[in-house]
């Protein structure tokens, strides 16, 4: 999309992504035909990406409060109380569309953007996580995307010096033309030093800091609000380019300035750049804002007002400062060799007025820009009926199935990925990737630990979106619980297809309903998040293919005493106890897909009361020292979980289950929810008795020891063999 000024009319508005009705509303607000720049401002502010016009109605149904929530949705990131006067500030955000077009920069700038959302609130970032979905691994383009995305995440996160401590990866052909890159940042601040974005103080200077503005990323927000077609790759110039070195300087400079009393309000320039930051800051503060674009640091000559207002150049922040503190601020940014420019002032006009080269390029009343933004209650259709589970037979046997499952793309070792992310920088990583169900990061100079995870099972969400949404929340809660931490809150990243299609809207609403139920049942409110719609690609035949519904959940929990956390590695001896009820749910299981080649049946039932009861019991038993290692039972079921514990700890287990009362494959590979494997010293009888007292199903599964996982049949599968099967997938795919 060129920046050349063109005649403004309805046709141009449609090119900018506005509907005819939306354009008419713009004309009515303005009382005249908007200027080219004004139309640009409206189109990005009213894009799906910035306005949440299709999702807002439903997002409001999610629980967002709890006694420990300091700031819920509406700020740059969510803020929760983690004790000792400290707050965790965190959010997850998607960079899906850019990552398909230009995987390295798309993923890298995704990390950069979410970091800024967190440090703009005054937090030093302490951890990054991500949730990635890729297409069929057999497709060459998938390999390129995996390679670029992993390099991009590492390239940015490693350089800024924030450890990447966790994440999840799935492969499915539904993501062939539309991978998902969801990046999460967690930061820590003092509760009395949290910075917000609402501008205040008529006459106060508006200050631009960071990198210069270039022509990159113009209309990125609009691009993210439309489905792809076969020409998507031609949009490469709309992808922003990141510079993690500048981001690192920006973090340090902002934190240094935040230690003074100079800042009134601050916000990063993310999607829709200078437009969204200035409009949102002024709008939230109920003031007007005058911008002088001649003062904006520019990377190239001849940029128009439209280009500067819509540029998504990276590593930039907008601040409102106290007028007598600008010299202090300028000195700090000059020390860090970053641009610093006063580009405007706050006014009492209630308008955003943009001047450039002596001309008023835009003059828009802020209230109607925000309040009359479109909001849609899009029609919902019927959910697609689930294909029945069908007959079950076991063609390969338990041992062979295990080897195949732990080597399959969704369960194979992710070490190839983790090993490209610096997970230890900062010196506070207590549990690294693969060491526990959630990563554990200590807060420097305190005893506090944060437990962090990202979770979603898209195939469940596709089959039954409501229970799939609940399951994503429950699994995040369970992963935090399995370390001994108390789950506090979530950030969500709702990735769906085209909301204008009734069946997609139905998925979206059902998934949110399920999430809301789980968040309420588990006291696990949503404090921040992001919605990414239009994740569809139109093939050459004109048929648009949607991704699987993917409401990724980023969970955060806290340990008052981080030394009490447990990992998942099998200890040297003792017993393995299964907590939770096993019905042998094979619908939508990995076993069903990998062994019988089917994606059929209902997703496993999510019993939130049982989830809560079982999890609260497990956490208590970890904190009182009874459980010494713990792993939740999820994808692949019990036997995969046992094998993962054995591989992580280097110790095996002799499984002793006289009669499970069901088909062996259903018992060993079924994916019933609300279950944990707990390693205890001794014979496990005490834990089973305690569980019975708490109304929690529990049984001893076997004795820990040896260098194999030994099945009740007597078949012993060595840890070495498991590791070989588990390790092969990524290196074979990527380094061959």
């Amino acid at each position: 999309m060129s920046g050349a000024v063109r005649e403004v009319n309805e046709e141009l508005a449609r090119e900018f992504g506005l509907t005819s009705e939306e354009y008419n509303r713009v004309v009515s607000i303005m009382g005249r035909t908007p200027s080219f720049t004004e139309l640009g401002v409206f189109s990005v502010m009213w894009s799906e990406h910035c306005s949440y016009k299709s999702s807002r109605k439903w997002l409001r149904t999610l629980p967002t409060t709890a006694p420990w929530v300091i700031h819920g949705p509406g700020e740059n990131a969510g803020v929760v109380d983690i004790g000792q006067g400290l707050a965790a500030i965190f959010k997850m955000e998607s960079h899906n569309h850019p990552s398909f077009i230009e995987p390295y920069q798309g993923a890298a700038t995704g990390v950069g953007g979410i970091l800024r959302d967190v440090f703009t609130m005054g937090a030093r970032p302490v951890a990054n996580l991500n949730a990635l979905r890729f297409g069929d691994p057999a497709t060459p383009r998938t390999r390129e995307i995996v390679d670029g995305v992993v390099r991009g995440i590492g390239g940015y996160g490693n350089c800024v010096g924030v450890p990447t401590v966790g994440g999840e990866v799935n492969f499915h052909r539904a993501y062939d033309g539309n991978p998902l890159v969801n990046a999460m940042t967690v930061g820590v601040a003092h509760q009395d030093k949290i910075f917000l974005s609402a501008a205040a103080g008529v006459g106060n200077p508006v200050v631009y800091v960071g990198s210069k503005t270039g022509r990159d990323g113009i209309h990125g927000a609009t691009m993210s609000s439309a489905e792809f077609d076969e020409n998507a790759l031609a949009k490469r110039p709309t992808v922003q380019v990141g510079d993690p070195f500048v981001e690192k300087l920006l973090i340090e400079a902002c934190l240094e300035l935040m230690a003074t009393d100079a800042i009134v309000a601050i916000q990063d320039m993310g999607a829709a750049g200078l437009t969204s930051s200035s409009v949102e800051m002024a709008g939230k503060g109920g003031v007007g804002i005058d911008l002088d674009l001649d003062a904006v640091p520019q990377r190239e000559p001849g940029m128009t007002a439209y280009e500067m207002m819509l540029s998504e150049s990276q590593e930039r922040m907008l601040m409102v400062l106290k007028p007598d503190r600008t010299d202090i601020a300028r000195a700090i940014f000059e020390k860090w060799e970053l641009d610093f420019a006063i580009i405007g002032t706050l006014t009492d006009t209630g308008h955003i007025v943009v001047r450039h080269k002596g001309q008023v390029e835009a003059d828009i009343p802020l209230d109607p820009l925000a309040e009359q933004a479109p909001i849609y209650d899009r029609p919902r259709g019927e959910l697609k009926a689930v294909e029945p589970l069908g007959p079950i037979h076991d063609p390969v046997g338990i041992e062979q199935a295990l080897i195949r499952l732990i080597g399959c793309p969704d369960l194979a070792s992710r070490a190839w990925i983790w090993n490209q992310y610096d997970s230890t920088v900062g010196g506070q990583t207590v549990r690294r990737p693969g060491g526990a169900d959630a990563a554990i990061v200590k807060i420097e100079d305190t005893s506090i630990g944060l437990a962090l995870t990202t979770d979603c099972t898209p195939r469940y969400c596709q089959a039954t979106p409501r229970s799939g949404g609940a399951q994503a929340v429950a699994e995040a809660w369970r992963n935090i619980t399995a370390t001994g931490a108390r789950p506090l809150a979530v950030t969500d990243n709702l990735n769906f297809g085209n909301p204008e299609k009734p069946e997609i809207m139905a998925q979206f609403v059902a998934a949110i309903e399920g999430m809301g139920e789980a968040c309420r049942a588990l006291d696990f409110p949503v404090v921040s998040g992001n919605v990414s719609l239009y994740n569809e690609t139109r093939g050459p035949d004109g048929e648009a293919i949607s991704i699987l519904p993917t409401p990724a959940i980023g969970g955060l929990g806290v340990l008052e005493d981080v030394s009490r956390s447990v990992g998942l590695g099998m200890p040297e001896g003792g017993s393995l106890v299964l907590i939770g009820k096993t019905d042998g749910a094979l619908g939508q299981s990995i076993w069903l897909r990998e062994i019988l080649g089917r994606e059929t049946g209902d997703a496993p039932e999510v019993d939130l009361a049982a989830e809560r009861r079982n999890g609260d019991f497990v956490r208590e038993q970890i904190l009182n020292g009874a459980i010494v290692a713990c792993h939740d039972v999820s994808d692949g079921g019990i036997l995969v979980a046992v094998s993962e514990m054995a591989m992580a700890g280097g110790t095996g287990c002799v499984l002793d289950v006289p009669d499970s009362g069901m088909r062996p494959e259903a018992f060993w590979f079924g994916e019933d929810q609300a279950r944990y494997l707990a390693a205890v010293q001794g014979d496990g009888a005490d834990l089973v008795a305690a569980a019975q007292g708490a109304g929690v199903p529990a049984r001893v599964l076997g004795q820990i020891g040896g260098d194999s996982v030994t099945l009740p049949s007597g078949a012993a599968i060595s840890i070495a063999r498991l590791k070989v099967a588990n390790a092969a997938f990524f290196p074979d795919l990527m380094d061959r």
Binding site: G155, N158, K248, T424, G427, V430, S563, D735
Partner: protein
């Protein structure tokens, strides 16, 4: 021990290093800004890890020309002790205070993992708490850690006992061609080298990230404890 940590734009492991030094000395080291043109009285200068100047041009190349490096050269010439870790090692080679260079990892990917180091030269201020042949674990995290030098230089380093650490397996077996034990493909599996006077040490892995049992071990502590013993008169 009075220690100073140099902070360049893009340095990112200065806090890790400060934690490690504080844990053995009980006092916080001073942070030295790259633009400084004089140094306080110090027993040890540490060049920590990170991406000084974004690794632009070449890792460590721009930092080597920053104002503080003039002072550090003088400090070295007077027999001062310097530890360079990761990017700090790269800066020391770019400055010429240590021989050789660090190239892109042999696998052309950033590596973040634990490795095993075998102590090759005991009795230096950096290695005095180990015996020759001891093996310890330490995290590494770099994209450019593949040590090279010309054959004459390597022969000299080997002959004069200036190899501090070599990558090995957990049992101390060194196999240069084995990418599991010598992950970045370094020449002779060299992980750390010493200056001729043995008062400057550069190494790629991060002993400072393994000084607390909570983080998975204390394998890195002997290095810092040894420095304190050696440098506190």
């Amino acid at each position: 021990m009075k220690a100073g940590i140099v902070v360049f734009p893009g340095t990112n492991r200065e806090r890790d290093m400060a934690i490690a030094l504080r844990s053995v000395t009980g006092t916080a080291p001073v942070m030295l800004w790259h633009g400084e043109t004089s140094l306080p009285d110090l027993d040890l200068i540490v060049l920590p890890g990170g991406f000084s100047y974004g690794d632009y041009l070449r890792c460590g190349a721009m930092a080597a020309h920053s104002p503080i490096m003039r002072e550090i050269r003088t400090f070295a010439a007077r027999g001062g002790h310097i530890l360079g870790v990761c990017n700090g090692f790269q800066i020391l080679t770019e400055t010429g205070l240590l021989p050789g260079a660090l190239l892109r990892n042999a696998g052309l990917r950033f590596l973040s993992q634990d490795c095993w180091l075998r102590v090759e030269e005991a009795g230096t201020p950096f290695t005095r708490n180990w015996k020759k042949g001891d093996v310890f674990r330490t995290p590494l995290a770099h994209g450019d850690g593949n040590y090279v030098a010309d054959v004459t230089t390597v022969d000299r380093l080997e002959g004069e006992g200036l190899i501090a650490f070599r990558y090995s397996d957990a049992k101390g077996v060194v196999d240069v061609a084995d990418r599991l034990s010598n992950p970045n493909g370094s020449m002779n599996a060299i992980a750390g080298v010493l200056s001729e006077n043995r008062r400057i040490c550069g190494m790629m892995p991060h002993p400072e990230d393994l000084v607390d049992p909570l983080m998975g071990g204390v394998d890195g502590r002997p290095l810092f404890e040894g420095l304190v013993e050696a440098l506190v008169q």
